[in-house]
Amino acid sequence: MKRKSNKQEPKPDPEHLTEAERVAGERAKLLFKTLRNETFSADEKDALWNQVEETVSQRKQRSFNTFWIAAAASVTLLLLAGVGYLVFYKNTARTMQEFAARGANGPDETQLILGDKRVISLRKENSSVVYKENGALIQVDSSSTIDQQVAGDQQFNTLVVPYGKRSVLTLADGTRIWLNSGSKLVYPSHFDKRQREVYLEGQAYFSVKHSDDVPFHVYTRDMEVKVLGTEFDVSAYADDDYTATVLATGSVELTSQSQSLFGSKKMKITPGTRAVYDQQRAALQTEQVDVQEYVSWKDGYLVLNSAPLTEILKKLSRYYRVDIILKQPKLAGVRFGGTLDLQENIRDILEAVSVTTGLDYKQQPNERRYVLEESAIRP
């Protein structure tokens, strides 16, 4: 840089400016208020945040000191010898079920847990995860991408969606899976050539890419669903005493209680059928239903033809991550119909429910708790 000697300049100090210089300064100041800035889009911002969080969680894992690593390694080695023996004799479904039990329960944000234990947080309420290049590349929320190792031993990925959030997952084979609030899906980091297998806890809508040679299996605690390519909904919440499958198109084969002592039951169902496995009666039953009622949640609304109030409130509390207490036990089993727009906030929804049921709702001081009770004003 060329630099002139400034020795001869008088008072090189902005406080001693001439009037003309001061005006130039004022104008420059005005001008700089209109400076065009590069804007950072919300998507880019989220993507960068995901990267920051990912790096932070990697650092945390690395920051164990060497003593503990050595200690942990020797313990792990002993454990592996034992566990390895057991795992060797178990099928993929069992392994995935164990992964599901291990995955973090009740995080605030949707989490993608990779085979190498990396945890990626998805901040959006409705997040998306897309696998590309046979699983080696994962695109998160359509903006940031993550690499993972797919060669070598089979590894599992877990997508954990807490209450109040949803996620859409696209697997490397083109299968799309909508995960509802409070759900967990375990799947291999890449499918092998003979089988496509996933394990579900909670509720998901599957749109499976057709493949004659490679069947797709959805395992849950009590039921196994086997398909070649079709669309269906599976609901298997741990706190429900039933597991249900609703078929939208194509055909599926159900197997209940595949791990029970008495062997398993197999059954094929047709579109419009809902198959329910009742845990207490240990029985698999079918009924004809309006498919929309069971799958509309993935498009952001709730269609109710004739649903018990408790069921409706349970669905709402999962979707919005709120507690709803019904102080009118008489109404618990009463059935209601209608359509609720899940884009609206919980207060608007409860307002609609209150009008229909003739109850009043109150928000408790604890922000996430609502009470439905008898209306103070009698009609």
Binding site: M1, N6, E9, P12, D13, P14, L17, T18, A20, E21, R22, V23, A24, G25, R27, A28, K29, L30, L31, F32, K33, T34, L35, R36, N37, E38, T39, F40, E44, K45, L48, W49, Q51, V52, T55, V56, R59
Partner: protein, 195 residues
């Protein structure tokens, strides 16, 4: 610097280790940092990488950060240092440019006078002329004007960011204004002659 403003609260919460404060800090400053970084570079990914590294550093050193810092100034300074290092690394690898100095140059400015200001036609012409003149100033002088008038930093802070002394900083801004004044008068005469 008042210590009761919400931005500073986020900073204090962050230092004391509150879990949410890190993402709040990110939400508050990342837009400003990105706009700032793009002043010195045209490479979006490079700027994002530097912001990423900056937040990783913040998270790692959070216990040792000064509680009474001017947060925006501190973040801008840190980001500029990161950009400078990245810039030096990349120019070291380019043999065709080995003789150029390794200082970080600020990009030319683009102003939106038309949309932002309600002023007379004459004043607008003067400002447009001034905008062109500002873009002709040496890099360092333009950078000082930017830090002073757009980021509202004081001389001490500007000097710290640009790694120059406070008197040099004052000299630079004085010289810039003197030059702009001279050019402006000339421009104004031209305008009068044209009309």
């Amino acid at each position: 610097m008042t210590h009761s403003d919400p931005d500073h609260d986020t900073w204090l919460r962050f230092i004391s280790g509150e879990p949410d404060a890190f993402s709040d800090l990110y939400d508050q400053y990342t837009g400003v940092l990105y706009a700032f970084g793009m002043r010195y570079s045209t490479d979006r990914d490079l700027v994002k990488d530097c912001i990423h590294d900056l937040f990783i550093d913040l998270h790692g050193y959070r216990k040792n950060l000064a509680r009474d810092a001017n947060v925006k100034f501190y973040l801008l300074k840190s980001l500029r240092r990161k950009l400078h290092l990245a810039h030096r690394k990349s120019s070291m690898l380019r043999f065709d440019r080995w003789d150029t100095e390794d200082s970080l140059a600020i990009n030319t400015f683009s102003f939106s006078i038309e949309e932002e200001l309600i002023i007379s036609e004459k004043e607008r012409e003067i400002l447009q002329h001034l905008a062109a003149e500002i873009n002709l100033l040496p890099d360092r002088q333009r950078e000082i004007l930017y830090l002073r008038f757009h980021q509202d930093l004081d001389y001490d802070e500007i000097a710290a960011i640009m790694q120059i002394s406070v008197p040099t900083c004052r000299t630079f801004i004085y010289r810039a204004l003197k030059q702009l004044r001279g050019k402006l008068e000339f421009g104004a005469i031209l305008l009068i002659m044209c009309c």
